[in-house]
């Protein structure tokens, strides 16, 4: 690990990066300041990647709760604009961001349309059919909800793209002090997901081989999901045995091979998040568009 990148700021290099570290090399990679991930750090680590994953959870709450509390396009619009301006500091490449935003963007028209037709009627009425009424009010709400979906989706993607589950687990156990049994169990479960993907693929091919591949995708998927559940229970049992064989749960205290701490980057990141919310809500109040949900 290069000096500087990790020192003093907690659990900190992007673990997704390298595979080339040499186990035999005399590095200081396991000491406190190096924070435990082993690859030589890339020359520049994005500022957000120096923030402890637990802090990222807190930031996610800061950035989303106010967005749920008000329903106006200005606050959400300002928040989205500020967050986009900060993309370079998150280390998430624009292309990755674009790809991950696709589901969010797909969801927007669904939310917008239902608001448009069934939002609280008010102001001028433009069109109606049965209980569906398009009014001035519902148009405004529809626009507001579209921006809001983006304002909720964008920070989640930016905060958690490339967060290593292992680092998150280290943080939850050492910083948030959650019970290690729970944290390690969940982590091991996440790791098993790739096995389930392989299981699913093999089962799909096997159904084709057995003459069941032509019809009934839905029914087939349901029955495969059931078998996958059986596999999951069985794999889980085996894994639990393997973990127990390595002393998991046998001793009252457990140590951690990787340290996870809070550093300078953490309060800074929280402050930035609070500032984003202050500015966006402030703008909305100043322009008189601020409105509590339900008021």
């Amino acid at each position: 690990m290069s000096a500087g990148a990790g020192a003093g700021v907690g659990a900190n290099t992007d673990a997704a990066a390298g595979t080339a570290a040499d186990a035999g090399a005399p590095t200081a990679g396991r000491d406190e300041s190096a924070a435990g991930r082993h690859d030589p750090a890339p020359a520049r680590v994005a500022p957000l990647r120096r923030v402890n994953p637990v802090t990222l959870l807190v930031i996610a709450v800061i950035l989303s709760v106010p967005m749920l509390a008000t329903l106006d396009p200005v606050s959400a619009g300002v928040a989205v604009a500020l967050e986009l301006a900060l993309v370079p500091a998150t280390g998430v490449p624009w292309r990755t961001l674009g790809r991950r935003l696709v589901p969010v963007v797909v969801f927007i028209p669904v939310a917008a349309l239902s608001m448009l037709l069934y939002g609280t009627p008010g102001g001028q009425e433009y069109w109606h059919f049965g209980i569906a009424v398009v009014t001035e009010n519902s148009v405004n709400q529809s626009v507001a909800i579209s921006v809001r979906v983006l304002a909720l989706g964008l920070p989640t993607i930016l905060l958690f793209s490339g967060v290593d589950p292992t680092r998150l687990a280290d943080g939850l156990a050492q910083v948030a002090r959650l019970p290690s049994r729970f944290v390690i169990g969940a982590l091991a479960g996440v790791r098993m997901m790739s096995l389930f993907v392989d299981d699913w693929r093999s089962m799909t091919l096997a159904r084709r081989a057995r003459g069941l591949g032509d019809h009934g995708v839905l029914r087939r998927s349901l029955s495969m999901a059931f078998v996958l559940l059986v596999f999951a229970v069985r794999r889980g049992t085996k894994l639990a045995t393997a973990m127990e064989a390595r002393g998991f749960g046998a001793f009252p205290t457990r140590s951690w091979a990787r340290s996870s701490r809070l550093g300078v980057a953490d309060p800074v990141a929280v402050a930035v998040a609070l500032a984003i919310m202050a500015v966006s809500l402030g703008a909305s109040i100043a322009l008189g568009t601020f409105r509590f949900v339900g008021s």
Binding site: D22, A23, D31, M203, A206, R235, A242, A257
Partner: protein, 489 residues
């Protein structure tokens, strides 16, 4: 480094909760520090239960009833976790973390060791098993043999005095087996730890252990005990009958008589294969052909694309480039490319047996399982029943007709997975590692069955690492890696 642990088993027995009969009863066994023991016995002899008992993994009284006692260095194994290290059969089931370093460190963390100490031990453990890929190497990118060595390294880092291996090489290719064996040998020399290993293919370990202990079925306890050479000489026949391969074992199914090959069945034309649609190509430029009646064996190291080639050839995966072309005789009215056939068209033309039989079970009764393909072909009820009865009898599954396929033994599952495919009489059968993890008896059952099909004119394409299997069912060997074809005659 810790020295070897002593294991004493005194009148020990274990009955799993809810079972009528004990898995093990009245077992007496003493293993001296530093001894290397190969534990053998037929399936049902309670080897795995005994290992789990010695490792302290059977759980408390709600998991079963214990009689007698087991001591490791004079204390119950549950209190000796750090002294006992165990490696299990399934390489995928025992990886806990996502990188090599983190996984090797997991046991030490549980022991509560200080951080500097953990990483020093992890480095040493990985060096001892020869796995120096870097601490950040993802565990998903390891081969089976590497995964088993990693599990061993994680155990070693804990500094155990007793190493327990439960069929550590049953799921590995020959390279992986050699890697794991060499790693174990080195580790024992360096640490002086006591070893207990269970394996059907005893030849792998016979040169390394200094004692063989054979367990009998039905609570007979230890039926043979002594140096490998003596036990194999005196009790060899009984051990073979119990399903073991012992050094010098002759294959239960010798090479079948040559059959006359028929016309062309499949042609691979400059084929490239990929595990997923539009995924990365794992192998390309394959030009080969298969004739009716031929038995083709596909071999080669891990990651050379054997299984992917087999699944593509079987019409289950689309070709990444080039084509798999069926001859007119095989097509019998269907299109030229098996990958474009409907699922029901495959049934009577090309059948596939998957590496894990459970992946292909779709019902909850053995009888229904055999009928699936026939029903998909819309064959009338009476004839389906006749055919199913015939298959049940032929494959000795009749007593299990109403059992749930998922509850069968490994050998039975394998037989059933082959039987389901025989039901619709495909002209070509493709098998992916059919003999992985099978003991000698179920191995013999399977190979005999395939040889019978062969004699009846069936065409068989198998992905395998198994030399004896290739002897019995590989007229033509496709060795991926060098991509050279040779006759195995």
């Amino acid at each position: 480094m810790a020295s070897g642990a002593r294991v004493t088993v005194e009148g020990w027995g274990w009955r799993h909760a809810g079972r009528r009969l004990p898995a093990v009863s009245d077992l007496d066994l003493t293993i001296e520090p530093g001894q290397r023991v190969l534990l053998v016995g037929a399936s049902g002899a309670g080897k795995s239960t005994t290992l789990a008992g010695i490792a302290g993994l059977l759980g408390g009284s709600d998991e079963g009833d214990q009689t007698g006692r087991i001591l490791v260095d004079g204390r119950p194994p549950e209190l000796q976790r750090g002294r006992i290290g165990m490696v299990l059969q399934d390489p995928d089931a025992q990886l806990v973390m996502s990188t090599v370093g983190d996984d090797a460190a997991f046991g030490c963390e549980n022991l509560g060791l200080p951080r500097e100490e953990i990483w020093a031990r992890v480095r040493r453990g990985l060096a001892q098993v020869g796995l120096e890929l870097g601490l950040d190497h993802p565990t998903t990118r390891l081969s089976g043999g590497q995964k088993q060595r990693l599990a061993l390294a994680g155990v070693l880092a804990m500094g155990p005095g007793l190493i327990i291996l439960d069929e550590p090489t049953a799921n590995l290719d020959p390279d992986g087996i050699a890697e794991v064996r060499a790693a174990v040998e080195h580790v024992l020399e360096v640490t002086g730890a006591t070893l207990i290993v269970v394996e059907h293919r005893t030849t792998v370990w016979s040169g390394l252990v200094d004692r063989v202990v054979a367990l009998g079925v039905g609570g007979e306890g230890v039926v043979a005990d002594g140096p490998p050479a003596r036990v194999f000489a005196e009790d060899g026949a009984a051990l073979e009958a119990a399903g073991l391969w012992i050094p010098g074992s002759v294959s239960p199914c010798p090479r079948a008589d040559a059959v006359d090959l028929g016309g062309p069945a499949l042609r691979l034309d400059d084929l490239a294969v990929a595990r997923e649609r539009r995924g990365p190509v794992v192998r390309s430029g394959i030009t080969r052909s298969v004739r009716f009646g031929e038995a083709v064996g596909i071999t080669g190291a891990n990651g050379t694309g054997k299984s992917t080639l087999a699944l593509t050839l079987a019409g289950l995966l689309p070709e990444a480039a080039g084509a798999v072309l069926a001859s007119d005789e095989l097509r019998a009215g269907a299109g030229p490319r098996p990958s474009r056939w409907r699922s029901t068209q495959l049934l009577t033309r090309i059948g596939t047996v998957f590496q894990d039989p459970e992946h292909q079970f779709v019902t909850s009764r053995v009888r229904d399982e055999l009928a699936v393909g026939l029903r998909a072909l819309a064959i009338d009820r009476v004839r389906v029943d006749e055919r199913v009865d015939e298959l049940l009898a032929r494959l000795r599954l009749d007593a299990l007709a109403d059992a749930n396929p998922f509850t069968l033994s490994g050998g039975q599952k394998r037989r059933l997975s082959v039987a389901t495919l025989l039901a619709t009489s495909p002209r070509i059968i493709v098998l992916d590692e059919p003999t992985f993890g099978q003991d000698r008896r179920s191995w013999g059952d399977l190979v005999t069955l395939l040889q019978q099909m062969r004699a009846e004119g069936g065409t068989i394409v198998s992905v395998t690492h198994d030399a004896e299997y290739l002897q019995a069912l590989g007229d033509t060997v496709w060795h991926l890696g060098s991509v050279s074809e040779r006759s195995a005659a």
